[in-house]
Amino acid sequence: MNSGTELRLWEALDSLATSVHGSPEAYDRIQRLCRRRASRRRAAAGALMLLAAPAAAAGLVAFRRRSRSPAHGLRATPP
């Protein structure tokens, strides 16, 4: 039904596509962008670990205290 339009669309898209060329430094640009983002992610992860470390340490101490209590100890040890 619309085969005329389909053909015209295909031709127009093909012609428009052939007029598109990327810049020669595109690859270097993408590499730089990836490297910058990766270093930002590493820095953010490091900061997060520093923030999380005291909380995790406090949690561990609380867990050890709890597991030393007689009630927990009795339940945790196998017969």
Binding site: L9, A12, S15, L16, V20, S23, A26, L33, A38
Partner: protein, 155 residues
């Protein structure tokens, strides 16, 4: 990977209406692929993944442009065809390209993926993140509207 896919993705971004932002869109796609490379099921999935990101990013750019145009006082330039494209396109082809730009983003995506990339319905569905039935309906509505617009423009 870059050599194999870059120019095709760049063309896809331009055809979808990214205009001058096309290179940014494709650069973003490669960066996202780089970040999530380990999560890919197979390396063969990379091409489809890149295509999906280009579609999503272009849609986001268009939406952003629309919002800026609505709220910002400064004038936002509509993407225009490059001088080379102007020279290469015949009048009737320019009419089709202009009509394509008026279509809703989803319909335009379905038509470009179908008629330019020659993808199958299932591949288009995977790229756009919709069902094959929705692809059918977007394609049919898109082509019908395009026909109307081109006929109106030719008069």
């Amino acid at each position: 990977m870059f050599d194999q896919h870059y120019s095709r993705l760049l063309r896809l971004a331009v055809l979808l209406g990214a205009g001058a932002d096309a290179e940014d869109v494709v650069a973003e796609a490669f960066c996202q692929l780089h970040r999530r490379w380990s999560r890919l099921r197979t390396p063969d999935a990379a091409a489809g993944y890149l295509r999906s990101i280009v579609c999503n990013q272009t849609r986001m750019q268009l939406r952003h442009r629309k919002v800026v145009r609505r709220y910002a006082e400064r004038h936002v330039d509509e993407p225009v065809l490059s001088a080379e494209a102007q020279a290469l396109l015949r009048d009737d082809q320019r009419l089709v390209v202009d009509a394509l730009r008026v279509l809703p983003a989803r319909q335009r995506e379905a038509l470009v993926l179908r008629y330019w990339l020659d993808l199958k319905e299932a591949e288009i569905a995977a790229t756009m993140g919709i069902s094959p039935g929705a692809v059918k309906s977007h394609t049919a509505r898109g082509i019908a509207k395009l026909t109307r617009l081109v006929q109106d423009g030719a008069r």
